[in-house]
Symmetry: C2
Subunit: 707 residues, 2 copies
């Protein structure tokens, strides 16, 4: 999945330009518009009248006449003007004809509300395929079918029948794209409740043409969008999604995603750990990390993080907590530490400034203003000024507890907020506590984030610190010529050879077909050696007595060869032993598993994890979409819970992490380049030698597709 | 820490009876009462007048006269009636004298607001020690100093200066005890906002006498309390706390705790993993699990779980989710699975009932009522009835999304809630969505839990399922005679011998003082053997070349002995080798670490974890307070993330988990019985042999205290 915009760029531009016209229409046809503004077919017109849409509106209804104050047209072709957007509220049975007419009439884009398409299967799926074909052939963009539509707050466009859009607040800089209309409406309500408008809200419905990825791509280019929320239940085109996320990242826009289905891990029966662990969700998780997408697990988190990111991110991960309750401070310190924030200490002069006024505070971080603050609310201000003047924090949180309930208390605090915000405009200020509605409104007006639950503030800080960490967009990685797959059947020697050809260090080895040849090989390679059975279809060699290690002399090698032969006969009488691999005992090191599996949506994905129980029991692995560079490999390794093992534990020396990262990246490029008949591969173990000594593949499996 | 109420029972009863009189007073003296009801010294009287306290109120003020409508007394001794409670609003300097007068006057209990005691150290700490002595000597109970006081909602007692208590809602069945007044006030506000009263709210402040544990103990006995919330920053007496939690559990009362400080893991420099990992928090975590306490990580979680548990718990862990949004359904399924709930499938007849009305729903669980429900809200009712009639769910959650905004929509749904609640009174019903205040109120009236964020509902369900799981209170464990500590210095052979005497299976072994003796020992024990250095002060034997394994013959043993001798000389020239342990190579098995460390607050605590990187890198361990029975050991093992290793992975056979659990329990009894000069012990590794073959200790360390 290469991110390359050069191919078909002009077509891409044409499609994007139609999407842009559709979402920013100067002229809108309302197909099937009703005079009754409360009916589904009348709501879009009604809402646009109410919200003051400034463009041209053309109701289309066979009856003609005046509809909601506008001249209606009997047929679309009667409209003597270019149409940017057609909103179709006809039933499913009439949709296809309308779509054809729109396409013929040069409409830029169309919204189709009707359900009864792919979601019901059978006939509906066929109907939808025809819609897709119309979009593909004509270039007209289609949103839906089975969608609640979209809104454009700046232009006051309501191409939706949802009554939540009847009164739009002023536009904001947050755009939302969702596969679920219900989810979209919920987010809209959360914003509207706080008088916060959006930039665009788009529900993609059945996605016969426009997908979530297209909208992200559009938002990435839209100057009015700073933050993108997406809600994704499924992805139909992994490359498109990855490309869109890369575009958003390159444009410096923050993406927050909800992708339900964390626990629906794939139950694929698979030969390799890579395939077994590549549940759908593990790949999404890898994708999100790869492109810096913040993944939220609840509606509140999604909205809170998205909204906060609209104003600002944390310049660094250091935060200061000021609290009226020492215990809440410790609780917040817990949450901060668990989410990667640092409660950095105050500088000495700030400490003394606070101690002068609050003698029994240790003026640590959290700064406990203690119960004194109930009678001396200036202490909040003192602490806030001291923390601001320290000029080291990305964010400051003031937990007021029960304090900010009265109007006079709010008014008393505002100057302090303002002072810090004006003096340190880069800083993010948040407040929490048992806040009144008035306090929450006042905070919003002052550009201060406000939460009733203080741990929510820490969650948002952590997200803003991630966004602020200013990681460059993933480097584009050069994938060379197509790499041919190995010949079937692929046994261990040919798999190792294939990886060696691809530039991966593999253990030196010989294949011996007799005890004598094994002895000869051992002599050449040097004792002690290991013998491993080679037999077509035998993967779990240890389980059938097919591995003998630490063979120190000729007699042992000879004996081992014969023993392996008879063990195989005993365990798997129908398998034929080709011979044995003879290899020197590899130097000590940490065992790692690295593999590729070809995902139907995302193409080749790479997994890496630490060997043994960490992979097998704790499923401590990390995924990425291939290809990627060494820095991305290093981030994958950093995600492993057992990461410290690579630094040397239990008497082991620190492993060659750089060489490991280079190998993982190289394997990702190989995964992207190899013929698609290689369905999966896995090096297990890849032994990581001490620092400076590289890595070496000790065993490998390659799985080819059936045909 | 034995839980034994027989010792000193009458004294306990007397103290408890005074606490009971104090918290349910018929007569209250207000020492230092002010005429100004807004002043701290006037608020308690003012609030009790406002709330309609029915007992006798005696303002005490040298000025005498009438105070807030009550006859004031110049001195406490002028009051010619027994006093159950004295509320003292005097400054710190006057407190001691007042306390002495109260004690002399037979006051049952006293609340002391004043700060300036232990929290400021020095002179304040000395003052507080005198208060403690007065309480101890007289039997009068003291709450505080440095406390916001307490309230008793049923009796309308406000022994507090906090203005939040000026108007108490009617009493509920939730009692709260908190070391932080700010935290207590926050919880009070959350309840009052919803018109929910409490049973008791108690802030323990500096705990010169009354501790959180005493209040839990009291609530356990109080017929009006069903659920106990506690907020704990520190514990001064671990045995008292454990006893109180056991009492609450025995009384069938649910306890929800906030204990901040999760990440402040102890940084003790320690010889053993047990001591190194016994950070303060690991022990609290063990304590809470041991006594079935639900630990919350945010104020909202604390309050939500506590409030929900007041009405009902889940009869089982099966829940049904009905949702207007498929995607939110999947998200809720994720949260449910991650928190141990089961979204059990609907029975076939329930499925067909739903499919008849919602043709494209797969009627799985979650039940997606789809967008159809916007026009057909009867579908919510249909799904709810079908789920209720399945008679298999502990809880049902209906996620209404944006639906319940209008009064008529709420009214339309109420009959369905009522029907399910009446027909299946054991079931817990919750709703979520973008709920209006009216919807939340209506739900509360109908006994339906209501949350705006749907994942909050799942969190509460998971907590209620834990409470519902009806685990018996921890069995009391018989601790026999005191076990003497081994003689110092304790080397490996004497440690192993000490554990063997205590009934733990240890590897058979000999100590050899010469190569010849080692050969002789090996002959008796049978080859192959392992040799391990014995030398005072040498703990990390492998690091100094002090371990040789797999010695198969006389020559190897002889050579190994000499090699160990010279390795020790080389690595630690100042250490003297006593000899070598000779032991047969133990059979294969899973390695476990079990240890004890004596905590200054909780006494002997037991840790167990799986050996190797699981303990060393992932810190995958579990703690309990000693002693405990085999079932508790099994629960400890179940908490380990690597638990599956005990069931056999990577070609290993399943381990003897029963024998392991028995050994852990036995070690916990030993820990409780051993002389306190044993500061810590650790068996590492304890090898778990295949099922039916037991466990065997291969190495052990015992650390004695200095004196």
């Amino acid at each position: 999945m290469r991110i390359d915009r050069s191919e078909g760029y002009s077509m891409l531009t044409e499609k994007m330009s139609r999407l842009s016209r559709m979402l920013n229409p100067a002229s809108i046809a309302l197909i099937g518009a009703s005079s009754d503004g409360q009916r589904i077919s009348g709501r879009a017109l009604n809402s646009m009248n109410a919200n003051g849409f400034q463009g041209r509106l053309y109701p289309v209804n066979p009856k003609g006449g005046i509809i909601q104050g506008r001249q209606a047209y009997a047929r679309l072709e009667d409209i003597d003007a270019p149409i940017d957007l057609a909103v179709c509220s006809l039933p499913a049975s009439a949709v296809l004809q309308a779509a054809r007419q729109c396409a013929q009439g040069g409409v830029a884009g169309m919204v189709i509300y009707a359900s009864g398409f792919a979601e019901i299967g059978g006939q509906g799926a066929m109907l939808q395929a025809e819609l897709s074909a119309i979009a593909r052939d004509s270039g007209m963009r289609i949103l839906g079918p089975n969608t609640v539509g979209f809104t454009n707050y700046a232009q006051r466009v309501v191409a939706s029948f949802h009554d939540e859009f009847h009164r739009l607040p002023a536009a904001g800089n947050l755009s939302v794209v969702s596969q679920s209309g219900a989810f979209l409406a919920n987010v809209a309500m959360m914003g509207h409740e706080r008088e916060r408008g959006f930039r665009y809200l788009v529900a993609t419905g059945n996605e016969c043409d426009l997908q979530v990825a297209d909208c992200i791509d559009f938002f990435a280019l839209d100057p009015g969008t700073d933050v993108i929320l997406c809600y994704l239940e499924t992805c139909r085109d992994g490359a498109r999604l990855a490309r869109a996320l890369a575009a958003a990242r390159a444009a410096g826009k923050h993406v927050v995603a909800v992708k339900p289905g964390r626990t629906a891990a794939g139950a694929r029966a698979a030969q390799s750990h890579t395939a077994a662990l590549a549940g759908n969700d593990a790949i999404y998780e890898g994708l999100f990390r790869q492109y810096g997408v913040y993944r939220a697990d609840s509606i509140e988190e999604y909205f809170d993080v998205g909204l906060a990111a609209c104003s600002k991110v944390l310049a660094n991960n250091r935060v200061c907590v000021i609290t009226v309750s020492g215990g809440v401070g410790v609780m917040l310190a817990d949450h901060a530490e668990m989410s990667g924030l640092e409660l950095a200490e105050l500088p000495p002069q700030a400490k003394s400034r606070i101690r002068e006024q609050i003698p029994f505070s240790d003026a640590g971080n959290p700064i406990d203003v203690t119960g004194l603050a109930v009678d001396r609310p200036d202490l909040f201000q003192l602490a806030l000024d001291a923390a601001g003047d320290a000029r080291q924090y990305g964010g400051i949180l003031v937990h007021y507890g029960a304090y900010l309930r009265r109007e006079q208390d709010i008014q008393y605090q505002i100057p302090a907020w303002r002072r810090v915000r004006e003096q340190y405009p880069g800083l993010v200020l948040a407040i929490s506590g048992f806040l009144s509605e008035a306090a929450i409104r006042a905070a919003a007006q002052e550009g201060v984030l406000a939460y009733r639950e203080p741990t929510d503030a820490i969650r948002v800080f952590a997200a803003l610190a991630k966004f602020g960490a200013d990681r460059p967009p993933p480097a584009s990685v050069k994938v060379g010529e197509r790499v041919p797959a190995p010949q079937a059947p692929v046994d261990e020697p040919s798999a190792l050879q294939w990886f060696a050809n691809a530039g991966i260090a593999v253990v030196s080895h010989r294949v011996a077909h007799s005890p004598e040849a094994a002895v000869q090989a051992a002599r050449e390679l040097g004792y002690p050696v290991v013998l491993k059975v080679v037999a077509d279809g035998v993967l779990h060699k240890s389980d059938v007595g097919g591995v003998r290690v630490n063979l120190a002399d000729e007699a042992s090698v000879r004996q081992a060869f014969t023993a392996i032969e008879s063990a195989l006969k005993q365990h798997l009488p129908d398998k034929v032993m080709t011979g044995c691999i003879v290899a020197p005992m590899a130097p000590a090191g940490v065992e790692v598993v690295v593999g590729m599996v070809r995902d139907p949506v995302f193409g080749p994905v790479i997994m890496c994890g630490l060997g043994g129980i960490l992979v097998e029991v704790l499923k401590d692995v990390s995924f990425r979409i291939a290809p990627f560079d060494v820095n991305e490999s290093l981030r994958m390794l950093d995600e492993l819970r057992g990461r410290a093992v690579l630094e040397g534990v239990r008497g082991m020396r620190a492993g060659d992490v750089q060489a490991l990262a280079a190998a993982v990246s190289r394997l990702s490029v190989l995964a992207a380049a190899v013929e698609s008949k290689v369905q999966s591969f896995e090096i297990n173990p890849l032994r990581v030698l001490p620092r400076g000594q590289g890595v070496v593949a000790l065993d490998a499996v390659i799985e080819l597709s059936e045909q």
